[in-house]
Symmetry: D4
Subunit: 251 residues, 8 copies
Amino acid sequence: MRTELKQLLQAVQNQTLSVEEALLKLKLTPYADLDFARVDLHRQIRQGVPEVIYGAGKTAWQIAEIIRVMRDHGQERILVTRLTEETAAAVAKTCPLRYDPVSRLGILGDFPSPDGIGTIVVATGGTSDIPVAEEAAVTAESFGNSVLRLYDVGVAGLHRLLSHLEEIMTASVIIAIAGMEGALPSVIGGLADCPVIAVPTSVGYGASFQGLSALLAMLNSCASGVSVVNIDNGFGAGFLASRINHMEAKK
Amino acid sequence: MRTELKQLLQAVQNQTLSVEEALLKLKLTPYADLDFARVDLHRQIRQGVPEVIYGAGKTAWQIAEIIRVMRDHGQERILVTRLTEETAAAVAKTCPLRYDPVSRLGILGDFPSPDGIGTIVVATGGTSDIPVAEEAAVTAESFGNSVLRLYDVGVAGLHRLLSHLEEIMTASVIIAIAGMEGALPSVIGGLADCPVIAVPTSVGYGASFQGLSALLAMLNSCASGVSVVNIDNGFGAGFLASRINHMEAKK
Amino acid sequence: MRTELKQLLQAVQNQTLSVEEALLKLKLTPYADLDFARVDLHRQIRQGVPEVIYGAGKTAWQIAEIIRVMRDHGQERILVTRLTEETAAAVAKTCPLRYDPVSRLGILGDFPSPDGIGTIVVATGGTSDIPVAEEAAVTAESFGNSVLRLYDVGVAGLHRLLSHLEEIMTASVIIAIAGMEGALPSVIGGLADCPVIAVPTSVGYGASFQGLSALLAMLNSCASGVSVVNIDNGFGAGFLASRINHMEAKK
Amino acid sequence: MRTELKQLLQAVQNQTLSVEEALLKLKLTPYADLDFARVDLHRQIRQGVPEVIYGAGKTAWQIAEIIRVMRDHGQERILVTRLTEETAAAVAKTCPLRYDPVSRLGILGDFPSPDGIGTIVVATGGTSDIPVAEEAAVTAESFGNSVLRLYDVGVAGLHRLLSHLEEIMTASVIIAIAGMEGALPSVIGGLADCPVIAVPTSVGYGASFQGLSALLAMLNSCASGVSVVNIDNGFGAGFLASRINHMEAKK
Amino acid sequence: MRTELKQLLQAVQNQTLSVEEALLKLKLTPYADLDFARVDLHRQIRQGVPEVIYGAGKTAWQIAEIIRVMRDHGQERILVTRLTEETAAAVAKTCPLRYDPVSRLGILGDFPSPDGIGTIVVATGGTSDIPVAEEAAVTAESFGNSVLRLYDVGVAGLHRLLSHLEEIMTASVIIAIAGMEGALPSVIGGLADCPVIAVPTSVGYGASFQGLSALLAMLNSCASGVSVVNIDNGFGAGFLASRINHMEAKK
Amino acid sequence: MRTELKQLLQAVQNQTLSVEEALLKLKLTPYADLDFARVDLHRQIRQGVPEVIYGAGKTAWQIAEIIRVMRDHGQERILVTRLTEETAAAVAKTCPLRYDPVSRLGILGDFPSPDGIGTIVVATGGTSDIPVAEEAAVTAESFGNSVLRLYDVGVAGLHRLLSHLEEIMTASVIIAIAGMEGALPSVIGGLADCPVIAVPTSVGYGASFQGLSALLAMLNSCASGVSVVNIDNGFGAGFLASRINHMEAKK
Amino acid sequence: MRTELKQLLQAVQNQTLSVEEALLKLKLTPYADLDFARVDLHRQIRQGVPEVIYGAGKTAWQIAEIIRVMRDHGQERILVTRLTEETAAAVAKTCPLRYDPVSRLGILGDFPSPDGIGTIVVATGGTSDIPVAEEAAVTAESFGNSVLRLYDVGVAGLHRLLSHLEEIMTASVIIAIAGMEGALPSVIGGLADCPVIAVPTSVGYGASFQGLSALLAMLNSCASGVSVVNIDNGFGAGFLASRINHMEAKK
Amino acid sequence: MRTELKQLLQAVQNQTLSVEEALLKLKLTPYADLDFARVDLHRQIRQGVPEVIYGAGKTAWQIAEIIRVMRDHGQERILVTRLTEETAAAVAKTCPLRYDPVSRLGILGDFPSPDGIGTIVVATGGTSDIPVAEEAAVTAESFGNSVLRLYDVGVAGLHRLLSHLEEIMTASVIIAIAGMEGALPSVIGGLADCPVIAVPTSVGYGASFQGLSALLAMLNSCASGVSVVNIDNGFGAGFLASRINHMEAKK
């Protein structure tokens, strides 16, 4: 951004750009204004990744419009999260959207080849956590990561987890997903030497309070190297894991 | 109680007891009324254990009075819980009370020899949980149990716990005590085949919310055979463990 | 486990087992990996009881698959909890599953004869708590316990409870189930001399907050010998009661 | 009020009162404005009882001033609630205030003879609830009620309560005070046929959450005829009990 | 109860009753055991009012059975609360049940003539609170009270309330019902000189948290003489109001 | 009000009005009593704006009746909030109600020309917040304000907001609407020099707890000049913004 | 800001400013960087008011340093909020700070003459709310407003409030401050036709939960025109009231 | 671990190790058992970093002992967190502990030279967040990271943050620390393209609920790439940031 500004100022100084034009340029919004949404078209430049459409609370028409604008601006890979089957079907009439019913993701374009530092392990405490895990795994794959799934390795049957010690100890990033008591990230965090992203899920009943129990447990993890995202936020975990797995020298 | 009632009625029938006397006997309160407290003197008969004095919120004078009445009625072993050092010192002027500053227990009389089914294991996640653990351990000992302490075996360093697999797998009852994420009971519950009593502690900060985090985690344990007592309730866990460890045939 | 390990090491020493084979055996997962679930096949050995399938959040196909694997490994008695009528019907097409609509349990195989220390009493505060109570009672029966049901004996009509004093005072374990104010375990805990497992239910409205009120009350019970499981967790209470009712000498 | 207004209007009509004077009268505030407090001097007329001074958060000087104004207006019986020992001592220098350290009440004037419908029973679950109970009991006595104290009759030792069945069944109003699981009002409510005022106390620890547990339990009481006041609000319970105990025909 | 016991003992002494028979009589439960419910048949004697059936969570068949038993024992007036229209229709096939869709009450038998001390005022803050108010009003009427309804007199339009000052100041008991900020009981409590029963409702949205906001406000009312029942508990308020309105001398 | 009272008293003094008539007038309620609702007809006089009908929890018939009474009293502009499509259709059969499905507002009459101090800016963090924003915007327009909509300008894409700096810095009042982390009002509050009304929305999932997260964030805003209304309360924000935008000299 | 930017660009175009200098200027932070604080020196320009120092959590030395920098930049009127007496005394050694122990405000410089639209009324429910009220009142005065204090006019004694109807109905802005049930803003909001800023206070005990009760009540106010600031945030209310009271035409 | 196990098994096979010795070795705990603590001596090997001592809830003697054992095992760099000044002084008598009163860290040994991928930026919303920030910064430095501090750049004065855009956009990892509304991580997360670790602090009052407000806001951040640690957990953030900043290829 500093660079752009400098160029702009030099253009003004060189008088190849009038003050009025410069002012105009500075106010040019780097997004497409759809009235109901401002589609961020600079994010790719600013942050290196495409915009992801948060599907919840948007109509099929709104989503289709946002996709249309993105594709008009050359965006080929697009992810839509938290998409219902009905909305996906309606959107798919306007563009080649693929829908994954488990992760509830809508996908446009092919995934890039994995080019991260290592493998991202996605582990769940139980079978019911799989939808959240798939949201994380497919998100990570869509950003160019190799993903290894370890499902149903909850701490109440420790041998299930320990038989995968090697995968855990060689992972680049681990996404540990669990509902109920949310203990998985603590146990994994004590075994692994990589960043662990904990995802509480709303799986459970009674005193799980829709994931609050797992959330609090994960925030209080006595294992170091663990951080937490929102309840059921598979996308957020997959996105962050990808970012960590693509760390580059910035000295 | 049924027996006592039957004997009473038979005595009335046999006319060895008048109606008035029977009525009086029935109304005789099986406790000593101290105005500020009703000391339960029948609990030993009714439930097989001495009354325990909950020390919090009572003055030294009140505690001393309750002890005096109990001893007058032949009670030799008395436990006072949640006793401050100051109150203990004041009470100790009126009776041979011993005070344990770690567990905050006041004790009168000698402990019985262990006569339970097996060994009660008291495990903690960390060093800071020791006061609660000692309250549990000493309580269990005072009721005639053999206790094995396994302190600081939290799940973030699993090898510390796993190196005690044998003690865990041969325990009669396990008291699993932890603050923060409260994951210890889930892991132990998955390894052991005996009842596990989970005690959340108020150890932690921030989102531990004074033990709420550990409490919720423990209630949501996906390991079977785990039940939970109140936050920091070492006494309750020790008492219940003793009761389980003294199960007898009741077919 | 220690024994198995010792035998393994001796086999290596005796050169009846190569290092590679030993390593392989040690890594052999004692569960069947179904991709979406890791079915624990050693639990019977490790903890003396069959695995129970938590039905909530699993599809009929997933449950049927898990049952198939278990039966392939010789498991005859299987319990499926929190099963909807629809899912049960679908699963029943693949195996001889019986469904109990009150407790929402799916059952395979016959129940063993009761062989516990004594009788487990299952008491409820009201009629609406019966589904949770039946989950507890049938679970306990499926593990070989004699169960006595005392339903609708809430504390607001104390004579209903007191007329069963004898059953309460001779029980081996009591499961006390209540919603709303959750006072039943405290009253029973003061009368009985056996372990009391308190189960809060989500029965109630307004300030019951889906069972939170009963849960907190039970955790704060001033009766000793009471511990608590999750809201509506009839299975957990039945399982733990059975474990306590099958205590054996482990000195 | 209606009467006063009618008289005022008639006086205007009779021209014994000018419009300006009437207007003035109507605006005459029926309280003494102390700048920091508006002392209600009409409450005796409007509601039949003297104003009570809520002592918390007021300085000794403020309390003394309010008392001075009240006494200037002929108020003889004054109650100050939630008074610390220090503040009471300071206030006592300016007026003949008596201080009761258990209930933390400051009192001026003699109590009236009991003239209510019957006896108000004040029952507590434990010894630690006594300060709240005394606040209720002394408040009720100060408003002309006969009070019977039944302390430490918690539900975990039911015989303590049942031995007072007669007092409970003949009471006019019962104030049931308990911390922890707050079960006392439910049990009493099931036995008594009079209004029961439940007072949760902050007695307890851990999951009692400073009285929240008892509060929720009492609000969910399945016994009819029970209503609840704020945590530790002995004054409110005593005041309301007196009002109920002084019900008169109002057809 | 004492009297019955005395007579029993005298009969034993007189040998007109054997010990076995006495024992049997003492154990005779004063309720009808329907397996799923214990219908209290002594409550009329013990507390002067008929049992009320809590309809939520009960099947039509269960309710019909309970009604059948009650009517078999001579109960003529029966109230069923929280009844859905469907269940009511099913029950009505087995007995002459009338259903009131606003209050969701099912009613058997005629209401007694009002014989209370005075009039019970039922006031609501808004129109949406009317279902709860009707539950309170009809309950009170069914127990023999004269009821005056003041609906939609919320504090944000004070003149609506003040124009009914006379009714408020002459009421025997007032039931003040409000959702949202729950301020009505405080304002009424400051105007009236009778007991005020506050009923929070779940009317509102957002930070009303299903009635929590109104509940907390009412518990904190700075007006004396106010007590609170559970959220939406119109029945409880009507029952208690009737009890207060039927106070008799019990010196 | 004082003026009316003075005129009334003068009329009594002048004997052009009898005491009884005066009394009657004073008691004449300035609202129409519809039994289920008290329609405030003086609010226009008292507060300068028409009554708004809160549609939630009211039947179509009730709403139609209230509208009828209002129109009978000359009210031309009427707003009905939180109206479902079905209810709106039913009401529209009885009067010329227009329905806006996005804001869920029902509208009668034309909107006045904008006559406020300046422009009200309505900004949202995301697309999903638009229904709440439209409720605010249309409400403000219905009270005579010029409204500028800035939708989807959330803080995670700051340039979207900053490109509207001029509108923000010249607004008369800003309504900042956001769910999830609720940061928009803080950022806007730091940029603007006008009152900012923050509206938390229930948009989000997991730890947003139906808007609690945004609500707490907004209450804790470290930007000065920000105040908060209830979750999803677009109407309240629009109403208050209009009131502020119509401030007039009142020295 | 736009203007400054335009001038800058023109200077570059005119070559009176080099690109490097322009770049430097654009990066010049409009605040003084004190390492531990960035003192905002442009706020006066940007928002028309001086920066206010939030005193809590800052050392006396830090506050003194911030004041020193502000004064060095010509700031004459400075407000320090939430200042303890000790810290104030220490700061006062370095500058002419005046300290008001009731509002806990530290003040430098004289207050401007009131130049707002009208009078700001600051009303409290009780005496204990006065510290928060004074923080609001003095803050408003320091920003050039005329303030009228109405203390202890809580809704439980409505006549105290109604006798000030005239002040309420002629106010420009009203700050309504209350703890406990927090009903004052609703009642005032129904009477007034100006913006009402509600301030919940932590005054109360038990179920007031440190102001949560009042906060929720105020957020749910059914009176329109009410918005809420944080618990005990007298400063925020005074600041916002001043901003509203200084509204000017911005068409 | 796998390697060690293989070597062990080979040694048994080679008969250079007896079965008994192997068994013993396998049970050799890789930690020093201090009775009250099990000091993890393998963590350096297992996870590449020294053990850190959590100082809260440990006595000076316990901490000194743990340090002694660590140093005996060759550990030179040791960090003690949450250390009070008193405890630090006591510990410092037994070893060359340096104490930093702002971060409350105790430190032994020199810090390694920074060898991470890039710079870790530690940003805070306000001055009061500095202690948490210093805990994070010093922790990161102690693990060999270059740290840049940006304190008091809260979102309510956006220009303070924007003037550091370059540092933010070139950071390797950012730790964003804020109390109150906790908006800083969302704004930074929208600007940066590196992982952002959000740390809520307990700074604030009223509805900040000791950091809950900031915690919830951060969990709900609509900026991608943000994860959250416990309230006030500066150490956890610093540790995780270091781990991310030391990512290496693990394909």
